[in-house]
Structures are given as C-alpha cells and as structure tokens.
Symmetry: C2
Subunit: 331 residues, 2 copies
Amino acid sequence: MKTLLLNKENVGSLISMKEVIGTVEQAYKAFSSGQVIQPAYTCLHFPPPRGEIDFKIGYCEANEIISMKTSSGGFPNNPTEHGVPSGMGTILLFDARTCALICVMDGSLVTGLRTGAAGAVSVKALARKDAKTIASIGTGNQARMQIRAIREVMTIDTIHAWSPHPQTLAQYKADIEREFGIPVVMARSKQDAVEQADILVTTTRGKGSLVEAAWVRPGTHIVAIGTDTQGKQELEPEIFRNAKIVNDSIAQCVEKGETWHPLHKNIISKHDIHAEIGEVLLGKKPGRESDDEITIFDSTGMAIQDNTTSHLIYRNAMASNTGTAFEFIQS
Amino acid sequence: MKTLLLNKENVGSLISMKEVIGTVEQAYKAFSSGQVIQPAYTCLHFPPPRGEIDFKIGYCEANEIISMKTSSGGFPNNPTEHGVPSGMGTILLFDARTCALICVMDGSLVTGLRTGAAGAVSVKALARKDAKTIASIGTGNQARMQIRAIREVMTIDTIHAWSPHPQTLAQYKADIEREFGIPVVMARSKQDAVEQADILVTTTRGKGSLVEAAWVRPGTHIVAIGTDTQGKQELEPEIFRNAKIVNDSIAQCVEKGETWHPLHKNIISKHDIHAEIGEVLLGKKPGRESDDEITIFDSTGMAIQDNTTSHLIYRNAMASNTGTAFEFIQS
C-alpha cells in the first residue's frame, strides 16, 4: 500500500492560486450542502515562549477524502535555538472508502493559500463589479496572499495600505509592486486607507477595533480575515448594523469570528446574518444586490478548505508523478 | 529538518513487550501526576459496510512529546475489494519544544501492544502473588496479546479459554500452546472458565453482560478490556459491589468503561472507585490488600499509552539507525 510523501517544495510547485480559488469555492458549496463533517478542532497551548498546535479534521462526501491538518505557530525561538520555522504544519489525507493513508504532505503553505483564496471567492461573489481600489489594513504574509488571490478575480488599480510599523509598510509596498506591478500607496492613517476602498481587507492579529464605521463608504466590500478566535477583533461592531453579513460558517463566526462582536453588543441578532458564502455560491441566497450596500465577509477558516485544497495538490502530484512513494504497510 | 518514517515491519522489530509494559507504567504514572494533556478524541463514523476512524491526541510533559494516533476499524470489505487491511493506523510524533514533526510511523501494532501491556501492568499491581491460572473470555487478537504481556510479569500455569465459536477457540488453543507453551483448556462454558480463574481477562466486543457475579471467586483479579465505549459491556454490574475498582482514567471509565454499568445501576457510587492505576503505581493508593479481595482493572485505553509507547519505538529506531529519513521541509 503506497502513501505519497510531498515536501514543502513539492506542494509549492503543484498548485496555482487560480486552482485554490476554484477548490475553496467547491469547499464552501459542499459545506453549505451538508456534505461535510468538520468536528470541533483540538488545540494544545503551551506556556511562553512556546505557542500552540492545533489539529483540524474534515471529511468531504463529494471527494471521499478525510483530511487532518496539524499546524503550529507562535514559537519565536524556533529559528535561532532549534533551526526550524516558528510555525509548521502537516496534512494527512485518507481515502474515506477504506481509511487508507494516501498522502502525507507538508502543510506550511496550505493555510496561507486557502485563506487567500477565501478572500478572492468573496470578492467574486460580493464586491462591486467596478471595484478597483483595495485598502489593506495589515501588511504581513496574509495581506500579500490576499492580493495574490484577489488579482486572479479582478483588476486591482491601487492598494492603499496601512501598518503601524513604517518599515513593514515600506517592505510591503516594495514587494507588492515588484511581484504584481500594482501601485501601493502608503496611507498616513487607517482612515485615509479605508476611505479610498472599494474593497477593504483586514489581516491583522486582531488586537482591537481598528476600523471605524464612519470611515466605510457605501458600496464597500469588507474581507475580514484576522479574527478567528474569541478575543480577536478588527472592525468597530457598528459597521455590521446596516451591512450585508456573509459568514464562511455561521456556527463558527458567531462563536469566534468578527461577527461575534456585534452580536455580543446586540447591534445585530443572528437573524441579521444574511448567508453563508456557500449559500451565495450555490444561488440559494443572493450576493450583492446594489452598488450602495456594504458587504462583509467574515472568514474564520474551515477544515474543509484544507481538505479540498490538499486533495487537489495530491491529485496534481499523482498526475505529474511528483513526490516520493512510501509503504507504511508492505503489501 | 528530518522526519523519521517507520513502516509496520520496522515498528514490530523495534520494541519488546517487556519494554511496552515499562512504558505503559510510565504513562499511567505521568497521567496520575497531572503531567498529561489528553483532549477528548475525535471519531468519524461511516454508514455500513464502512466503519470508523478516530484521532487521539496526547501530550506528555515528562517526555515533551505530542502524539497523534489515527486508527480505523470495521471496514470488512477492505481486504477483498481494496487490497488493504480492515483497520489501519498512523502515528505522528512532534517534539513539543518546537512542534517539529519528528516521526511518522505505522500505527497498526501500537494499540494492540499497549493494550496488552495495560493488562500486565494491572496484574503486577493488583493480582495475587500466587496467581497462576487465567480465564480468557474472548479468543481474538487482544486475548493473545494479553497472554503475551501477562507472561512477562508472572508464570502462567494454565489458561481456561472460552469462545462462542468452537473453531476460533481451537485455533486460540493451538496458537497459544505453540507460541508460549502454556496449556489451554477449552472451557465448556463461561462459568467453567471463570470459576478456575486467579485472573480473569475479558477481551470481547462487549456485546453484553457475559460474566456473572456468582462465578467469580474471592481473590480473583479481573482485567476488563473489551468495554471502551458506551453501549459495550462484559461483566454483570453486581461484580463491582464488593470489589476493589481500579480505572485507567476515572473520567473516561465512568463515562464509557465497564465501570459505567454499576454506576448507572446505583450498585456503586463514584466514591467507591478505589483509584486510578497510576495512583497505585505511584504508591499514592494501596493495591491489593488481601488474598480474598476481588480486584477489577477497567481499561478504556488512553492516548498517553500511545504516546509513551510510540516514543520508545522512535528512540529505539534512532538508536539502531532503523527507518527512513524524509525532509518535509528542506533546511
């Protein structure tokens, strides 16, 4: 019985962002069709200077794949003291018809890719068709990934970026302009950036309410990425009051997404959540209905995104004869 | 960064039952010293003819290892239709100081070994020193594993075995006599077997109350292995009334072990549970105190047994240069 092993380099070479966007769309549709089992995930926390490791399991009826992604993060001393990255990941894929282990792949890249793709999927479904300006609050890896993905689904004219750290901001500008040829304006304030936005992307560590309701223009689409656990926040809850709210998973977002905050403050009730993104993609619920609406996509991240993305990587590897076969059980 | 890969053959050659017994003792002690994190495990069930797959995660402070064991079972058509076993397993080991993946090993053998060792650990701690006769209710793989383990900690004179299937019973007798040279008496009834026992081992699928209280002689030590989820049962709950009850994990046994049944029938209360096996091994609670006591060890199985057992396999592999190194992340 052969198991395919894929290292980080293999994984990086085996999939394009365009493909990830397609497979994340499939994931959302499967999720909102009840074809997915995603048990609550397990997280182990360690005292500083160590971080955490979590285990996310997902089963998708459509592809008959069970995935288990483990990812760690927040080990700042790893590079200097142990010569390994501060966060790592591994994905196991099982054929759900037999539960045979068909693939073990490095998981470092998949989370970033599928989270980037999530933003692009929401832009396709919810942003104005004439959107051309992006405000990026946050300038780290995921901020770059969002641009990498969104440029696959629209033409980006300008990015207005903001970071509390001038050096990080300058680096982001240099990287984006070099890699994608999209001009980046280094905003003097968050307000300056947000007020320019057709699409507002927030990818910070969620340390507080960063974006005020008064700054958000009618017609803006908001991609809220940073908040994926209780305690994180990026948006003033008031923004939700008259917005069209779309979640990746309502169950997850009301518990630990950006959507928790306006619920907790009674600015909205659960009934004010318009849809899950999968319902919009399936045509069960409308997407954007006017050029004036403010739409919010709250992405908390789901195991099923890892499932379909890593399964596509596996299929591409098999098709191109990439990777190393290993027999854990001799046949 | 190197990850060690160990196939099933490697795993089988890398550890002796004596070592597993030692490491399971360490696991129990660590557990009852509060040095262990064992989150609730995740199980996915599939409709027949498919079975289930579960994911058990454990962290042990003493060895700084995080383990994740996935094991599947109940896929009867796997061998004929797909050419793979009806149940399989995989274990990942992470260095908890960095969360680096240090080992991926086949997990087919570890559950059987550590469960066998559990029985032997309890025999050392709780059986009469002059015990020499075993009754085995159940004659499958785990029944054999119990004998393989218990013979490491005592001299077995005779085994009185019972199975509802005469052919299975005859095969068990032939196998045990050939492999270990221990005479096996094929009991005409469960009662016949149990009445002979110094040590009673139950390893059935837990389909009902199989052993009656009236059959159990004073001084018997009972190793209750078969019941590890709600709905399974092997012993008449009345047996617990005057017995010294020892659990692997009280939290687990009261919820899904054999201990659940007498609790549910109000034959005992939670206060009547004498100890966790780790507390006995640590000397915090007494083991057997007289030759007349009936002692019961209820084993539901814990992730931490997989953790210490697979970590020992890993260490033995590193020491003997066994296995295949693979770089999931190139350094």
